[in-house]
Point group: C2
Amino acid sequence: MRGSGLTRDLSFLLARANALSLAAGNAALAEHGLRVRSYSVLALAMDDIRPSQRDLAAFLRLNPSQVVALVDDLEDRGLVRREADPADRRNNVVVATAEGRDCFVSAQLAARAAERELHGQISSRQRDQLAELLQTLAFPG
Amino acid sequence: MRGSGLTRDLSFLLARANALSLAAGNAALAEHGLRVRSYSVLALAMDDIRPSQRDLAAFLRLNPSQVVALVDDLEDRGLVRREADPADRRNNVVVATAEGRDCFVSAQLAARAAERELHGQISSRQRDQLAELLQTLAFPG
DNA sequence: GCATTATGATTGAATATGTCAATGATCGTG
DNA sequence: CACGATCATTGACATATTCAATCATAATGC
């Protein structure tokens, strides 16, 4: 099977690598009550970006209505807070609470450990190369 | 937003690059009545691998029951045929029909064009590098 | 100022995907 | 040939995705 032409297809490789990474990520985050989706939201709510839900949807390539559910869940669990944007009160800015930060940092350890394990085959130089290449694909233009 | 720590997270980059690639792929394949899933099945049914449905499920990281639906659809449209494996009659070997081959080759042109467009930012040397790195992630061990 | 148009969040409905356990056919082994 | 294992299939269930409609707020043009 691995001799198939598909194996040289970037989009197929991307899909398969992503499937593995997603499964490993979700498994590693489960003990922290997160999944890669909610982990990503939390990550963005951590730094001083102060993203609106619209921003989150665009960045994570989700439908805005999916972000509603994601933020609802995190908010119910006290990890995140919706704040009205003073500059534009249509926007809900999503910010991590103190517990959210704590949860994130411990989850991040687990996530990183899982990544290291999953990517044990490649050197850290290769990892950086890969990250750079993926960035140009992930953020064209 | 792009300054977020997530941007340096391989699994996030993988997810986002894959989302873009998937959307572009599905769009490009739509005019051929395919999606990237069915395109992949067709690709594997093309060469002389003679994959069983189980093989397809494992390779494409799908549940075997999802492959049933995928192959049902392709078979209904005459692009693919189920053959009993003479060596083990539990296996359904999936093979492309003549129309399936025709459909695939024209779809492949569209898929490749879409990829080139999507990956216009990177050189072909970088593309090869990326493919190689992704292969080690996509097929560990 | 006020009507018009556009944008963000939210909801609910429709559709699609994913997961799982049960079943019948076939295989391999003792 | 009985046993347990594997493959394809089905149906039930849970989860995700997409979409249109709604309400609140903003920005624009008059």
